[in-house]
């Protein structure tokens, strides 16, 4: 089973390379280098902080776009091109097909994030060399702070979750609807704290109870965002990254199980 999933995954990765998805890495590098050159003139000494903010936000955004726009087409494209018939006639189960597709896109995202992170550290390393030790004293954290990798790890987890959502929707709906639903969940997932505190703004206990239920059920994307904390080198609660990663992993397992179940029942006639 793992071998089959691996084959499907490698094919998805190769297809994304053929589709020039990795070109976004060039855009990322050019944007970061251009910004590092220009920003010094505009920010009154906040260059390193801004490059960190920009780098982490860009990694998350580029990844999000890839996860959504490729994720929604993973299954739909095969159905639309009718290649699903020949694929499923081979010794590939529907479960392996879904999991392989997911693993392939996850691999694409991982390669993207690794290269973008390396590029960000390179730019920060260059900027670090431009400042004297005296100037660096006022920085909240060193330019090459390895603590930023915690934020990158949670960005990866968030992207894997978005991919799982996009894939889940793509097993039963059109690409447009899948994209809208995935983006919708991603946006709602940033307002989780409001759902938790809904009882403070409504009087109806039913509405408050429903909001509280949604708070627990919907994916909490805000929890994956620790960019500000790492940029300022603020301490995180012990085990925060591990608990959030575990939350993401379980949610992904839930969505993939759902995707497999839906896809298994789907009739392609």
């Amino acid at each position: 089973m793992m071998r089959t999933i691996g084959h499907v995954a490698i094919n998805v990765f190769k297809e994304s390379v053929r589709d020039k998805v990795l070109y976004n890495l060039v855009a990322f590098a050019v944007m970061l280098m251009g910004a590092s050159y220009l920003i010094g003139q505009l920010t009154a000494g906040q260059d390193v902080k801004i490059i960190k903010d920009l780098g982490l936000a860009a990694i998350a955004t580029f990844g999000l776009l890839i996860a959504v726009f490729i994720g929604i087409g993973l299954v739909w494209k095969e159905v639309e091109r009718r290649s699903i018939y020949s694929l499923l006639s081979k010794p590939i189960g529907r479960r392996e097909f879904i999991l392989g597709k997911y693993a392939g896109l996850a691999l694409t995202l991982l390669v993207n994030v690794v290269v973008m992170t390396a590029a960000m550290y390179l730019v920060l390393g260059y900027m670090d060399a431009q400042f004297t030790e005296q100037q660096k004293v006022s920085w909240a954290a060193p330019a090459l702070d390895p603590g930023m990798l915690r934020a990158v790890a949670l960005i990866v987890m968030q992207l894997l979750l978005v991919t799982a959502i996009a894939l889940f929707f793509s097993t039963f709906s059109s690409p447009f609807l899948s994209a809208a639903l995935t983006f919708g969940l991603w946006v709602i997932g940033h307002f989780n704290a409001d759902l938790r505190n809904f009882e403070t703004v409504v009087e109806s206990p039913v509405a408050a109870g429903l909001a509280r239920a949604l708070y627990y059920v919907l994916p909490n994307f805000a929890a994956f965002d620790i960019k500000s904390q790492v940029v300022y080198a603020l301490p995180l609660a012990p085990g925060y990254v591990a608990v959030t990663a575990a939350y993401g992993a379980i949610y992904i397992a839930l969505l993939l199980t759902g995707a497999v179940l839906v896809f298994a029942r789907r009739d392609f006639k």
Binding site: I39, L42, T43, A44, G45, Q46, K49, I50, D53, L54, A57, A60, Q134, Q135, S138, A140, V187, H190, F191, F221, A222, F224, D225, K227, S228, V231, Y232, L234
Partner: protein, 292 residues
């Protein structure tokens, strides 16, 4: 052939853009002083996970707005977007400390170098203090705004004193509070204040500004001494000197007097003033003593 066609098209685009630039130059400019979202609460919600990046953008806009307005030659120039931009910046990123320090300095600066709103500067710093209640620097800086721009030495001393009670506050704050209370408005106590900023300022730009402020105080001392010399000349000769040369020939001066930025002082009808283009301009309002 295709390459030539592409180059020709690109050249046409560049040419039209140049023409567009010329047409724009001959059209009366409309200054876009707009801020579509002024509510920090709304912007914080809309930011999703991009709050820090948006804070950076608003910070860059605040710096541009302040710098652009300061350099503008428009006699009716306004810094009306400065506080809303700083409010948005610090709401999106409550730990953006430079925005509090620089922002309060920008806001407090008297016209034409700034909007002359020390009240808003204090509001911004108090917001910083609410976001980071252990930051003694904000309390010190509030005292500083009271001292330097509002000339309210009692309030300044009270804030310096309150800053001493923060964890990790440096020992010199106690001395500063005492000096301010006893000698507020004295040029020497202003010097002590700026010397602390020059030593402990949050970054290079801040420390450089403190050095410039110290030079302004030196310039004020020099101008006082030159005024005494002019007065001595007037008492001896019965008329004010027409130029520095008159004072040189009378043996009062050995060289052309220059301010700390190297620009010669001017003598206008017996009054000593800064030379044109001096970095010392405008000199701060002479602090008033707390007690006569």
């Amino acid at each position: 052939m295709k390459a030539v066609f592409l180059i020709a098209l690109m050249a046409a685009v560049v040419g039209l853009q140049t023409m567009h630039e010329r047409l724009e130059a001959s059209t009366p400019a409309v200054i876009e002083n707009l801020l579509y979202v002024r509510s920090p609460a709304a912007m914080t919600r809309m930011a999703l996970s991009y709050d820090a990046l948006l804070a950076d953008l608003y910070w860059i806009r605040a710096v541009q707005h302040y710098g652009g307005t300061k350099l503008s030659t428009d006699p009716n120039k306004q810094y009306d977007l400065l506080y809303p931009l700083l409010d948005l910046t610090t709401s999106l990123d409550p730990r953006f400390n430079v925005a509090y320090y620089f922002g309060s300095t920008f806001l407090a600066e008297a016209p034409p170098g700034g909007p002359g709103r020390p009240d808003l500067a204090i509001t911004l710093l108090e917001k910083g203090l609410r976001a980071q209640p252990d930051k003694w620097e904000f309390a010190q800086w509030i005292g500083f705004v009271h001292y330097w721009w509002r000339h309210d030495y009692a309030q300044a001393a009270a804030w310096f004193q309150s800053a001493t009670e923060f964890p990790g506050a440096p020992f010199w704050l106690t001395q500063l509070a005492a000096v301010t209370l006893a000698e507020g408005g004295n040029r020497q106590s202003s010097r002590v204040l700026w010397q602390q900023v020059a030593r402990t300022g949050v970054n290079e730009a801040f420390r450089s500004e403190a050095v410039r402020r110290l030079q302004q105080l030196d310039a004020m001392d020099q101008m006082d001494r030159l005024t005494e010399i002019v007065e001595a000349f007037r008492q001896r000769d019965g008329s004010v000197p027409g130029s520095w040369d008159d004072l040189g020939r009378a043996g009062y001066l050995r060289a052309l007097p220059v301010d700390p930025s190297g620009v010669p002082y001017r003598l206008e009808s017996g009054v000593v003033v800064l030379g044109r283009g001096s970095r010392m301009f405008p000199l701060p309002v002479e602090p008033q003593r707390l007690t006569p």
